[in-house]
């Protein structure tokens, strides 16, 4: 894959980076650091991308592995039905519903955020399990609980 192809693939799939960074960055500085690290790691490893998996799956895995292994400031509010969302850092998207959804998802533990984002992006339980490193059954159990809590959270705000 040439540099030109890489840049065009990255541009075409930048919504994955954008969504994940906004789910995990706790400060503006964090956000920039995560963007930088993801783009750098993608650039360093894209030579090994052989097209066996879809580019989007490859990028998703890279984003998650990067986000989880980089040192970030921790700032998560505990889950409650009436969690105060305004305490969570988030860049306003200009869309109220989108902001509400992000604030709600950000109240979940980091690994659960990864599971719900993969699910919402259309990955089935087996694929989510492979990307995360857990069984499809465990994904199903966690997903069931996350969805219930998410629905309850969104009803109350």
């Amino acid at each position: 894959m040439s540099e030109k192809e890489f840049l065009s693939q990255l541009s075409a799939h930048q919504n994955i980076i954008y969504k994940l960074v906004h789910l995990y960055a706790n400060t503006e500085e964090d956000k920039k650091d995560l963007y930088q690290e993801i783009v750098l790691q993608a650039w360093k490893t894209y030579g090994a991308f052989r097209g066996e998996a879809k580019f989007s799956t490859w990028l998703y895995r890279l984003c998650l592995n990067t986000i989880f292994t980089i040192q970030r400031k921790t700032n998560r509010i505990e889950y409650t039905d009436t969690a105060k969302f305004e305490e969570t850092y988030i860049t306003a998207s200009g869309n109220d519903e989108v902001d509400r959804l992000y604030r709600a998802i950000r109240t979940f533990p980091e690994t659960e955020r990864a599971i719900i984002s993969l699910h919402l992006d259309g990955y089935d339980n087996k694929e989510v399990g492979e990307l995360i490193g857990i069984t499809a059954n465990l994904v199903a159990v966690k997903l069931h609980r996350i969805k219930q809590q998410l629905a309850s959270l969104l009803k109350n705000i």
């Binding site: 906004h22 690290e37 783009v39 989108v98 659960e112 990307l131």
Partner: protein
């Protein structure tokens, strides 16, 4: 709210991300991955260990006290063993994020890298420092008192002082190394462990 629909609409971009993607020269970007920091520290440790070992070797020929020779020889041996382990760890650490590992495997790779480094530091604290301290104590004592090693160590008070020195220095070095390790990586390590546990439950 139709969660799936809202999520699909949420994908956007911002200037910071666009700027980075459009950047032509990615070599200007610097990685902030903790494993990269660890690898740099390992390299510094290796250089220091080589310098210290060279100093020990030189001292070996300049000091004419056989008891100190033994301490130096043991310290060199341990330095070489620890240096070899450090080198192995250094070459095994891949500072590029894996695109084949699952998230859990990647977290474990990071966690075990730091754990292995700590075990090396631990061995240094427990084996190399006491021997180096003993050698240093004998050398300093003999040099300062002008007595032979036998005469210097024949005094039970000196043996007591040596024991007390070791009792103070060894834990001090060990806990000092542990404190520094925790200061540098403790929070990150705790976070990695917590994430691995989250995925395991």
């Amino acid at each position: 709210m139709d969660i799936e629909n809202v999520w699909q609409r949420s994908g956007g971009s911002d200037d910071a991300l666009n700027k980075m993607i459009q950047q032509k020269d990615f070599s200007n970007l610097h990685s902030k991955l903790p494993l990269k920091k660890l690898k740099k520290n390992l390299l510094i440790g290796l250089i220091l260990a080589a310098l210290i070992t060279a100093f020990y070797v030189a001292s070996f020929f300049f000091i004419g006290i056989w008891q100190v020779h033994i301490a130096i020889a043991i310290a060199i041996l341990f330095n070489v063993i620890v240096g070899f382990d450090t080198w192995k760890l250094y070459t095994n650490i891949n500072v590029t994020v894996s695109t084949t590992n699952s998230l859990k495997d990647e977290l474990q790779k990071n966690y075990s890298g730091f754990q292995k480094w700590w075990r090396i530091q631990e061995r240094l604290g427990l084996f190399v420092y006491p021997i180096a301290a003993t050698g240093g104590f004998i050398l300093g004592g003999v040099d300062g008192s002008g007595k032979s090693v036998e005469a210097f160590l024949y005094n039970p008070k000196m043996l007591l002082v040596l024991g007390i020195t070791l009792l103070i220095l060894v834990p001090l070095c060990y806990y000092g190394a542990r404190w520094m390790f925790n200061y540098a990586y403790g929070k990150h390590l705790k976070k990695l462990k917590q994430l691995i546990d989250e995925l395991s439950n």
